[in-house]
């Protein structure tokens, strides 16, 4: 390696212009010297000049060449010098950081937490919200809904769908599909549960995907009574067919369109294109007879916009068509308008606000980390002031010192970035494995290139910010002051301490906001768990074990035997079954009609012809055995179902309290007549014989819904039932015996068991996830903020040792000195609390709009937060305060 004189003497860089002039001067010197020499040999000056030029050769070429070479040399030198200085800065930074590992670890941990948290949340935001849906032109995919007279969004009926398809012009393809059919499938290794959907022939055109293996449905398979074909998901294929191509042409038996049909597998969808998410099997809807009723809703509709048609234009189109249909059809349809929602919005709309709240929280955590790191860096620079002063005296420029600080923060930032990314990767792993049912599109969440780029850019920005904040205070003038002042007065400028106090107050304020967020969400969550759902939330086993038995008598016998045998198991208290179990398994809802006279004949026409006062709407459940006792749903009035309620006896029903109050306000519901025949085609009237407690069917957060209960022995036509068994012990222990009983009765049934605790926990998992993240962030923030308080207070104590010593010498009580220091911590905490509370109150207004059920001004939550923060601030100043108490006045005065 060469050391040019310029490098050693630090001569200024040569510009292009200088190089040009230098070359000219050098060549001119040569020619002049040669010319003079030749003149001395006796030539005329003109001849001599000409001879010198001739001897020189191609002057212009040489000049061009030399200019180019010199410019290259110059660039090369500059680059090398920069590299050298960079290496020097870096070596120096590494050396100083190694000499204070505690400081380095504190800063790195602080920043790594912030960077890691922000990166993890960003990777979720990126995967769930930012990445395009895995379909061609996903922006053209929409969902369509009927809108009723009250403006409510509803599912679609088949005739309305067909009219949409025929009359609109905005769509390239429209498709209708069923809700998820949970069914037992005979897979190669035995019976298994699978989710299936019936879809119309254009379904895959709407998705815009071809099967990865095999083919789409052909016309022979998409007509009534046609060949039975199925397309399966990538996941189902891998799990049950080992990902083998021999799956094509194999047969699977399932009860989807009708009981125990055999379908030929003709295709496997690509892994990314599973839609609706979690579905396993797609079957052509055209195989089964159409549902001609305009009010037979419950179908989902999706469409693909024609290229160049905006969603707004398509919305106008479908609205016009739907309003026209309403004019033509009147009361025959409930649809008075239509609603178009972009598919992306439909999938992620619900979680967007929640994710942005989390992203905001992680940004707060990062800000706290930055403030903490800057604070620590400033404290260290203050300690090194005399060293810096010497360097300035030796000629280091401000820029050079700034660069030094930046190099240190760059090293810290780089290590923090690596740790932060590792931290984020672990977090994302956790989300993918343990939080998969709390978020849509969770499979797309990964620490991939965009996320890494985000983390790197973020880390660079963070390193720059803390470096600049810290070096701001280490500017030349401060340092010079430090050098001229006596060592003891070298307390760091007042401004610098002010800055550090400001940073700590900022940390505390942000911590208050996070804590308030955590406390408000946490209290909301606790309230949710305290809600009475209307059923028992413990010691119940929920078992889905439903064979498809076409014969009604046989079906009744199956459930009878199952319930009896499970009841005989040790520890079992009560056993029942129902077509829908709260939160765990949803069932149908529908409209019923009220009858004054049980003899009055009723047909399906009544549902359109009866006046509104004679109609009602309710959840419809068919139950068997001791369902209400098993679920802990109280009987409030009348009687429950009994063994005398057989199929030939008058059909009886129970209603929930809410249904009774809404349908027969102020009257006794017992003895009233209801017809719910549209649910199963049996138009025999029900007599209400009892009232049971209300139940939250959807989730803990949703309100109870009016519910109508029929009895299985009288209404066996209903769908599959789910078994519930309450026990005195751990319901998990029931799972295996129940499985064995089901297997004995029906070897080809797959059994899924859950405890009611699991059901309830699963239903609040998404809230729990948000809460968990916010609380984790808030706890981390609290630790960082207390570190900040500690470092500033400790610093002030070390600066004021002399003052404290003198006070002690003048007779101040130790307790007074203690208070003096702790007061400093309390002052910081007080400021932080005031600023943070104000910010929280302002933020709560925003939060209230974003997160359902957040009051934002919960005084108890605020009280808790203020108490915690004040306590932590006092604790953090405790240690330096004790140190102040131990200051020996003699020692201090002697060293003065």
């Amino acid at each position: 390696m060469t050391h040019s004189p310029r490098r050693i003497l630090r001569l200024p860089w040569r510009s292009r212009r200088t190089i040009h002039d230098d070359v000219d001067a050098e060549l001119a010197f040569h020619l002049d010297m040669r010319t003079q020499a030749l003149i001395r040999l006796g030539m005329t000056s003109e001849d001599a000049r000409a001879a010198a030029l001739r001897e020189f050769g191609d002057l212009d070429d040489a000049r061009r060449y030399i200019n180019a070479v010199d410019r290259a040399t110059e660039t090369h030198h500059r680059r090398r010098e920069l590299m050298n200085e960079f290496r020097q800065d870096l070596t120096y930074a590494l050396r100083t950081l190694r000499s204070s590992p505690g400081f380095a670890v504190a800063v790195i941990a602080t920043l790594a937490l912030g960077i890691g948290a922000t990166t993890a949340i960003f990777s979720i935001v990126n995967g769930v919200l930012l990445k395009p849906l895995p379909f061609p032109h996903p922006e053209r995919m929409v969902r369509l809904y009927q809108v009723n007279a009250r403006g409510g969004r509803e599912s679609v009926s088949q005739p309305n769908f067909q009219d949409w398809a025929a009359r609109t012009h905005s769509f390239e393809a429209l498709a209708l599909w069923s809700s998820s059919v949970n069914t037992t499938v005979l897979a190669p290794e035995g019976p298994t549960r699978a989710r299936a959907r019936l879809v119309t022939r254009d379904f895959f055109a709407v998705l815009g995907v071809q099967p990865a293996l095999g083919r789409q449905f052909v016309p022979e398979e998409t007509r009534f009574g046609g060949r039975r074909a199925a397309i399966i998901s990538d996941a189902f294929w891998r799990k049950h067919y080992g990902g083998s191509a021999t799956v094509l042409g194999q047969r699977l038996t399932a009860s989807i369109a009708s009981p125990n049909d055999t379908y030929e597998i003709v295709g496997v969808l690509p892994a990314s294109a599973t839609y609706p998410a979690g579905n396993d099997i797609w079957i052509p809807l055209e195989l089964i007879p159409p549902f001609p009723g305009r009010t037979s809703q419950g179908w989902s509709v999706g469409a693909r916009l024609k290229a160049g048609v905006s969603p707004q234009a398509a919305q106008r189109d479908i609205s016009n068509v739907s309003r026209q249909l309403k004019l033509e059809l009147g009361n025959v349809t409930q649809m008075s308008d239509a609603l178009l929602i972009e598919l992306r919005e439909q999938i992620v709309g619900d979680v967007r606000s929640r994710l942005f709240v989390l992203l905001g929280a992680s940004a707060f955590l990062l800000l706290i980390g930055i403030a903490n790191a800057a604070n620590l860096l400033m404290a260290r620079l203050a300690l090194r002031q005399s060293e810096l002063a010497v360097r300035v005296a030796l000629g280091a420029t401000t820029w050079r010192l700034t660069r030094q600080v930046l190099a240190e923060s760059a090293v810290l930032g780089a290590v923090a970035a690596v740790s932060g990314i590792a931290f984020a990767t672990a977090g994302v792993q956790f989300v993918r494995s343990d939080a998969s049912d709390m978020l849509p599109r969770v499979g797309e969440v990964a620490v991939d290139w965009p996320v890494l780029l985000f983390a790197i850019v973020l880390s660079i920005a963070v390193a720059l910010v803390i470096g600049l904040i810290a070096s701001w205070r280490a500017s030349r003038r401060d340092v010079r002051d430090a050098l001229s002042a006596s060592p003891r007065a070298m307390s760091g400028s007042r401004a610098s301490v002010g800055w550090r106090r400001g940073l700590v107050v900022l940390q505390l304020a942000l911590t208050v906001v996070l804590l308030v967020g955590g406390a408000v969400l946490g209290r909301g969550f606790l309230r949710l768990l305290e809600v009475d759902p209307g059923f028992s939330t413990q010691r119940i086993l929920v078992a889905e074990a439903s064979p498809t038995i076409e014969d009604r008598q046989e079906r009744l016998r199956y459930y009878n035997t199952l319930i009896e045998r499970v009841r005989a198991l040790p520890g079992v208290v009560a056993v029942g079954a129902a077509s829908g179990v709260p939160i765990a398994v949803s069932a149908a809802d529908g409209g019923f009609v009220l009858m004054d006279d049980p003899q009055q004949p009723v047909t399906i026409a009544a549902w359109t012809d009866f006046p509104a006062a004679k109609k009602g709407h309710a959840e419809y459940r068919v139950v068997d055995g001791d369902y209400f006792r098993a679920m802990g749903i109280p009987l409030l009035k009348g009687r429950s179902f009994e063994s005398r309620d057989q199929i030939d006896a008058p059909h009886v029903a129970l209603v929930s309290e809410l249904l009774a109050a809404r349908t027969w306000p102020g009257q006794n519901p017992i003895g009233k007549f209801v017809n719910f025949g549209n649910m199963d085609g049996d138009f025999r009237p029900f007599t209400v014989v009892g009232v049971v407690g209300d139940v939250r069917h959807e989730s803990l957060a949703s309100e109870p819904t009016p519910t109508f209960y029929a009895y299985m022995p009288q209404r066996p036509a209903a769908s599959e039932l789910t078994l519930v068994a309450s026990t005195g012990g751990d319901p998990k222990n029931l799972a295996t015996p129940v499985r064995r009983i089901v297997h004995d009765l029906h070897p080809e049934v797959a059994v899924e068991t859950r405890t009611i605790e699991q059901v309830v926990a699963g239903s609040v998992a998404d809230r729990q996830f948000t809460l968990f993240v916010i609380v984790a962030f808030a706890a981390t923030a609290l630790v960082l903020a207390s570190l900040g308080v500690y470092s500033v207070v400790a610093y002030l104590v070390s600066q004021r040792t002399r003052e404290i010593g003198i006070r002690a010498a003048l007779g101040a009580q130790r307790a007074d000195l203690f208070t003096l220091v702790v007061y400093e911590g309390i002052r910081l905490a007080g400021l932080g609390i005031v600023v943070g509370t104000a910010a929280s109150l302002a933020g709560a207004r925003v939060l209230r709009g974003l997160v359902y059920g957040v009051s934002g001004t919960d005084p108890i939550a605020y009280g808790i937060v203020i108490a915690i923060l004040a306590g932590v601030a006092i604790l953090a100043s405790w240690i330096p305060a004790r140190r102040a108490m131990r200051v020996d006045p003699v020692e201090v005065l002697r060293s003065a």
């Binding site: 390696m1 060469t2 040019s4 004189p5 310029r6 230098d22 001067a25 050098e26 060549l27 010197f29 040569h30 002049d32 010297m33 040669r34 001897e55 020189f56 050769g57 191609d58 002057l59 070429d61 040489a62 060449y65 030399i66 070479v69 010199d70 290259a72 040399t73 090369h76």
Partner: protein, 110 residues
Amino acid sequence: MATQPMDLLHGTLDVLVLRALVIGSMHGYALSRWIHDRTDGELIIEDAPLYKALHRLENAGYVTAEWGMSENNRRARYYALTGTGRAHLRAETKTWRRYTAVVERVLGPA
């Protein structure tokens, strides 16, 4: 026996320049005269390639240059050999000697 001056074999100029600088730092003109004197005019060496070589060698780090005052008090660019330049010269000289020895051996006595 009068002979025509020869063209310089490719690559030899760099070695000559480095060799010249062994005696001390000098400016381009002095270097040109030194080589001219040493070769007694038997090699045709124009000055243009000489200067090109100097700047090329500077770029390669074999020589450094700085402005100084000439014997007649004019600003002149002085060149000096660097450590790597010296090493390079040694290596090149060795190669050159081996090369000429081989050629000599092949040609034999004339």
